[in-house]
Symmetry: C2
Subunit: 386 residues, 2 copies
C-alpha cells in the first residue's frame, strides 16, 4: 500500500428529517448571514427549501438566495455568487441541491476571498488559500461532492469543464436525507447511479492493487447494482434511496482511493462532452465506460477485470479474458437496463468535434494512469461510443 493522508472532516447527518439540525449547527458555527444556493427550484416542490428557511428563521439567521445554478455549473454563476458574498458579508454558504449546486458553492466559497478571476483555480493559475465555510443539503445521490473537497466547473465561453480541489472547500457538514431524493426523475436517478459506479471504477481500476480497497469498492458496486433498479422502479422506496445515497457518498469521500493513483480517464474524457454539449455527466460516463474498459483491457490487467466480474457480477467462467469481457458486457447492459442511452448519437452528438475534444482533454492533464491514453486512443473511445 502506498503512503496516504486522509481527512474525512465533513460530519454526516443522515436520514429522514435531519435538516432539523441545520439551524443549530449554523448558529454554533457563528453564522449570521448565509447564502442559500440552489438550482432551478425543485427544492421548493419537495419542501427542502421550506424546511431550510424555517430553520434559518427559527435561529434568526438572515439569508440571501442564489438560485438558478445549472447542472454543469457555470463559472459565470461562480463569479456572480462570489460578488453576492462579498457585497453582503456572507459568512456561511448552504448548498441545497445536487452535486452541481455543491460544486458551484465550493467555487464561490473560494472565490469570495480571491481577487482574481475564479477560473484561475481551474486552469492552475491560482490555488485556494481561504474559503467561506459551507454545508450541503443533498438532493441527488451521485457526485459524492457532499463529503469531499473537489469541484468541477464549466466555462461556457471557452467550452471547458475543469476541476480543482482543496480541503478548505470541503463541506463542514452535510445533510443526507434519502427522502429528498424520492422525486428525482428516473433518468436522473439512473445517471446518478452511473456516476457513483464510475467513481468506484476510477479508483478500482488503478494501481497499486489493494485487497481492502478492492473489496470496499466491490461493496459499493454491489449495493448500487442491487438497489439502483429498485429505486427506479419504486422511487419512494426509502431503503433503496438510502442505500444508494450512502453508497454515493462513500464512493468518493477519499476512502476507496487511499494510497492509490486513481485513473480518472473516463471522467476527463466525459467532461469534454458535457462541456461541449451540456449533457448529463452520468449519462456520458455510462456511455463511455464500457468503451474505456474495452480499450484498456490487456494482458497485464485482465486479472483485475476478471476479479471485477467474479466479485461484482458473480461470473464463474474459468477463462480470465472471457470473464473480463463478460463483466464489461454486463456493465454496459446494466446501464442500458436502467434506461440510460447507450450511444452518443442518441444524444444528438456527432463525430465533428472528436479530435478537438481529444486535444482539449490533454490540455491540462495526462489522461489515464491505469493505462495512459493518447489523442488517438481518446478519439477512438469517442468513435466507439458513437
Amino acid at each position: 500500500m502506498n503512503n496516504f493522508w486522509l481527512s474525512l472532516s465533513t460530519d454526516i447527518y443522515f436520514g429522514k428529517g435531519q435538516v432539523n439540525v441545520i439551524g443549530k449547527l449554523l448558529k454554533k458555527a457563528g453564522a449570521e448571514k448565509v447564502l442559500l444556493a440552489y438550482g432551478h427550484g425543485s427544492i421548493k416542490k419537495n419542501n427542502v427549501y421550506q424546511n431550510i428557511v424555517k430553520e434559518l428563521e427559527s435561529y434568526s439567521i438572515s439569508f440571501i438566495e442564489l438560485s438558478g445554478i445549472d447542472p454543469n455549473p457555470r463559472i459565470t454563476t461562480v463569479r456572480k455568487g462570489a460578488e453576492i458574498c462579498k457585497s453582503n458579508n456572507i459568512d456561511f454558504i448552504i448548498a441545497a441541491g445536487a452535486g452541481s449546486v455543491i460544486d458551484c458553492c465550493k467555487a464561490i466559497a473560494a472565490a469570495r476571498y480571491y481577487n482574481g478571476d475564479p477560473w484561475d483555480f481551474f486552469t492552475r493559475k491560482a490555488s485556494i488559500k481561504k474559503a467561506l465555510p459551507l454545508c450541503a443539503v443533498l438532493t441527488l445521490a451521485a457526485t459524492g461532492s457532499e463529503m469531499n473537497g473537489g469541484t468541477v466547473i464549466t466555462n461556457e465561453k471557452t467550452k471547458e469543464k475543469l476541476s480543482t480541489g482543496s480541503l478548505k472547500i470541503k463541506p463542514r457538514f452535510s445533510i443526507l436525507d434519502p427522502a429528498y431524493t424520492f422525486t428525482v426523475p428516473k433518468d436522473q436517478t439512473a445517471a446518478g447511479i452511473a456516476d457513483i459506479m464510475s467513481h468506484v471504477f476510477e479508483q478500482y481500476f488503478s494501481y497499486p492493487e489493494s485487497t481492502i480497497l478492492d473489496h470496499l469498492s466491490e461493496a459499493v458496486l454491489k449495493t448500487v447494482i442491487k438497489y439502483g433498479p429498485i429505486a427506479i422502479e419504486k422511487p419512494y422506496d426509502y431503503e433503496a434511496r438510502s442505500q444508494i445515497m450512502w453508497s454515493g457518498t462513500i464512493a468518493l469521500n477519499g476512502l476507496l482511493g487511499t494510497g492509490k493513483d486513481g485513473d480518472w480517464a473516463t471522467h476527463l474524457i466525459e467532461h469534454e462532452i458535457s462541456a461541449k454539449y451540456d449533457i448529463t455527466h452520468g449519462v456520458g460516463l455510462a456511455i463511455l465506460t464500457p468503451h474505456w474498459m474495452r480499450k484498456v483491457l490487456n494482458n497485464d490487467n485482465v486479472e483485475r477485470f476478471a476479479q471485477y466480474g467474479r466479485n461484482v457480477w458473480g461470473i464463474e467462467k474459468k477463462d480470465l479474458l472471457e470473464t473480463a469481457e463478460e463483466a464489461i458486457d454486463k456493465t454496459a447492459y446494466f446501464f442500458k437496463s436502467i434506461g440510460i442511452p447507450d450511444k452518443l448519437s442518441k444524444l444528438g452528438i456527432d463525430d465533428s468535434m472528436f479530435e478537438e475534444m481529444a486535444e482539449s482533454c490533454l490540455k491540462y492533464n495526462k489522461i489515464g494512469r491505469f493505462k495512459n491514453l493518447d489523442r488517438d486512443d481518446i478519439t477512438e473511445i469517442y468513435r466507439n461510443s458513437l
Copy 2:
C-alpha cells in the same frame, strides 16, 4: 437504514515514515508541552520512541513521559497521568503504542479537566465535557482506537473493565506506520486480528440489515482473513501489515455501524474475563466468538449467518443452517489456525467465577441486541468456552 450521525474527524497519516509529520502537526496545533505516553518500552526497541523524540526536539516542543501503561490499562494509571498533565500544564498528549495506550491517554485527556475521580466516566456518574487534544502513533493493528472516541479502562480494585466514549477524546490525528508493527510477536498479531474481526462481527450481526454495511464489513473480514496468516508467517511483510492495519482502523471508526444498533455482547462478556484474569482481550474474544455465535443462531437470523458463510468463507451449500454452522466452525478453526488458544482452560481459567462474571456483566448494560442474553445465557457461553 436508520438515521445516523457520523464524524470521522481524526486525520490519518498512513505509511512508512509518516511519523515525520508529527512535529509540524503539533506545532500547528499550538502544542508547547506534551505528554509522551507509552507502554513497557517496546517503542524504544523499534525506534518509534526515538523518531518521536527527534521530531519534538526539532520543533522545540518540550515533553514529559508517562511509561508503563499496561495492556488492559488501569484507572490508577489514568489518575497518575491526569495528575502529571495538571501539574505540568500539558497541552497535548501523544499516545504511542497499541490500543491500550491510546485508550489510557483518552481517559487521561478527559480526566485532566475533571475534578472528580475519572472512574466516574466509566460508571456513568459523569460525562466527558472537556479534554486535552491527543494524537496516536499506532504500534499494533487491533482496537481501532486510533480513529474513534471510545476508551476501555480496567479498575484493578473492583476488577471491572468498563468503557466510555466522547467525540472530545477522539485523536486529532493518528500516525499509522505498518512498519511499526513488524516486531509485534505472532501471538499479539493473531490477537489483534481476532479483535478486528470481532469489531466487525459486533456490527455485522446486528439490526437493521444494511446491504452496503454488510458488504463493507465483509471486505474487512476477507482482507484480514487473507493477510492475517501472511503477517504471522512473515512478520516483515509490509503489504500484509498495511492491509491489516488499515482494515483494523476501518473496522471501528464508525463507518461499519452507521445506522445500526451494534450487538457488543461478545465484547462485554469478554471484558469480564480480562478484568478478572488480565488476559489479552483479542484472545478472549477469539475463544468466546464461536460460542456466542452458536448460542444466538436461530431461525430468525440463520440467513445472516449463512450470508456471512457465503460471502466471507465462500461456502456454497444450499441448506441455510448447514451454511451457518459451517461458517461458525470455519471462524473457530481460523482463530485456532493463527495460533490462538481455543479454550479458556488453556489460559488457566476455571469455572469458579462464571456466575459472578455473568452478574457483573449485566451491572451497567443490557447484553446483546442481535439477541438479548440473560445471566444464564452468559454463563452458558462461559461454560461452553471452557
